[in-house]
């Protein structure tokens, strides 16, 4: 643990230094502008302290984002519209629902593709084509169409999450279900095993490592989907709404804290899958 701590801290420190330096560089023009209008000469310490403390900086300094995060998570009630926890929960619920739907759809398609030649030939190209369409282009359409039929709120966002997350599951599970080699399949044949027995006893367990890897990618994609789904709704809640609202009013500190929150959420979700993966595979004797 302590051996991995040092490199991590080093990297963090390095990022911190670069971030602070970049904040000075990017926010300096505005600081000079203000100084000129006030008719004062800007010393270097004054410049630095100004660039690290602006209201609407181009790039907020880490401590500004940290303070905003503290204020909007710890110091606000989680039910408050100004609480980042509240917004994160809105996004999280859409993410999880989309993830579950996408994973289910992905597994169903993968099973179909592996067991049915026609599906292999006909479905796979569509699955790939679906991912070549930019999600930003179809997200508003999905939202608008579903709104028109009276579906709004969680489900449309979850649909977009599902749209992004089923793909890695299909690809990974097809590969996983096909991972048993010819010898293992011949062996099943010598025991006169049915297709269903081969699936449950060989293909499915053999696919588990692929499954978990796909789940991690699907989870990250699902979160992106939920955030993208919150952009075009004129949404009032969710991390996407915070991002959009922040950019309307030049609230860069709000944007950055929403971004950090999204990243933390992604790390927590993917990390949870990683833990489940380790425990499961260890129990199965596969790790």
């Amino acid at each position: 643990m302590s051996r991995s701590l040092l490199p991590v801290l080093t990297v963090l420190a390095f990022i911190g230094v670069i971030w602070y330096a970049a904040a000075v560089a990017l926010n300096a023009p505005w600081a000079y502008d203000k100084a000129q209008r006030a008719g004062v000469e800007l010393t270097l310490p004054a410049l630095v302290s100004d660039t690290w403390a602006q209201d609407k900086p181009k790039l907020p300094a880490p401590h500004q984002v940290g303070a905003e995060l503290w204020e909007t998570t710890v110091q606000k009630k989680v039910t408050s519209k100004r609480s980042l926890v509240y917004h994160a929960w809105i996004t999280l619920s859409a993410t999880l629902l989309g993830f579950v739907l996408g994973t289910g759809l992905g597994i169903l398609l993968a099973v179909g593709i592996v067991f049915n030649r026609t599906m292999d030939m006909s479905v796979m190209p569509w699955v790939i084509a679906s991912q070549t369409i930019p999600i930003l282009a179809i997200a508003p359409m999905i939202i608008v169409v579903l709104n028109a039929v009276g579906i709004s709120g969680l489900l449309p966002k979850a649909m977009i999450s599902m749209y992004l997350s089923f793909f890695p599951v299909v690809v990974g599970m097809v590969k996983g279900l096909r991972s048993p080699d010819a010898m293992q399949l011949d062996q099943m044949r010598t025991w006169n095993a049915s297709a269903a027995q081969t699936f449950w006893k060989l293909r499915l367990p053999a696919s588990m490592p692929y499954f978990f890897t796909s789940l991690k990618i699907a989870m990250a994609a699902s979160l992106v989907g939920a955030i993208v789904g919150e952009l075009p709704t004129g949404a009032v809640a969710g991390l996407g709404a915070r991002l959009l609202g922040g950019s309307y009013y030049g609230q860069t500190i709000q944007i950055w804290s929403a971004l950090i929150m999204a990243a933390a959420l992604a790390a927590a979700l993917v990390g949870t899958i990683g833990i489940i993966q380790r425990v499961t595979l260890k129990r199965m004797g596969m790790a």
């Binding site: 011949d186 010598t190 025991w191 367990p205 053999a206 004797g285 596969m286």
Partner: protein, 276 residues
């Protein structure tokens, strides 16, 4: 009259006698259609394997040993000739679970314990749970792996894994055992030991065994019948009935009888080579 009746009885006894071949191949042909043109893997292969025989197949790489075994197991469809297993087609024999097949690699499932791996064919065949446990214990004893039931494959050496895979092939009590170079990947000392164990097991169970190998001493040591094959096209060039006694300690390999049989196998292999 009396004499006539006697003759009839004798004919009948011969037909249903235990001497009736368990496996009978007649003019077997198999040509693989590949992108580089047809590959003649087997040509005009005829062979009888009697009940309780231990038959080894030996020959250079690519002479069709595996293919022949796979035809018996209904994993490959011959393009000509016929083969029967227990008097029926290989497909019917497979559905009747007439044989256990041991592949070159142990092929144990990493997510199942040794016991779980051996239980696998029993689960597939729908054998009741209590009986599964009983059989697992019995075959593990048979391959001297008692006490390893709860271990995972990675906790066992290669030789032990191979023994577990043999136990798995034995677990559902098929009369025929088809083995494709089961000890090919193991070192000589382990191999000697497993050969000895396999002979004992064969003696105890009275199974019919078809065994593919690259090793002349292994073939001579184990077999009652040695089938020498040669490639391009794969065919049988010699069938040697072993004069060695059923009781075979490892040092039988230094006796003149043993060396004589080994010599004849080597000659057969060499002759097959010169044919090309």
């Amino acid at each position: 009259m009396n004499k006539h009746m006697n003759e009839a009885t004798i004919t009948q006894t011969i037909e249903t006698a235990p001497g009736t071949p368990v496996i009978a191949a007649r003019g077997l042909d198999l040509t693989f259609q590949t992108n580089d043109g047809p590959v003649h893997a087997l040509r005009d292969v005829s062979l009888d394997i009697a009940k309780g025989d231990f038959v080894s197949f030996i020959g250079p790489s690519g002479c069709g040993k595996t293919t022949f075994l796979r035809v018996m197991a209904d994993l490959e469809e011959p393009t000509g000739g016929s083969v029967t297993v227990n008097g029926v087609t290989p497909a019917e024999a497979r559905r009747a679970r007439a044989y256990g097949y041991v592949f070159q690699a142990a092929g144990l499932y990493p997510w199942r314990t040794i016991g779980g791996n051996i239980r696998l064919p029993l689960e597939i065949m729908g054998i009741p749970r209590a009986e599964q446990a009983e059989r697992v214990r019995r075959v593990l004893e048979l391959v001297e792996l008692g006490g390893f039931e709860k271990k995972f494959p990675w906790q066992l050496s290669g030789g032990m894994q191979q023994r577990a895979s043999i136990a798995r092939a034995l677990s559902f009590d098929a009369d025929i055992l088809l083995m494709d170079e089961p000890f090919g990947a193991l070192d000589e000392i382990v191999r000697d030991h497993l050969n000895e164990q396999l002979l004992k097991l064969w003696e105890r169970t009275g199974k019919t065994i078809a065994f593919v190998t690259h090793s002349i001493p292994e073939a001579v040591y184990l077999s009652t019948k040695i089938v020498v094959m040669s490639p391009r096209p794969g065919r049988i060039t010699d069938v040697i009935e072993s004069p060695l006694p059923k009781e075979r300690p490892l040092d039988i390999r230094d006796t003149p009888e043993f060396l004589e049989v080994a010599h004849r196998v080597r000659e057969g292999l060499r002759a097959g080579h010169q044919d090309e």
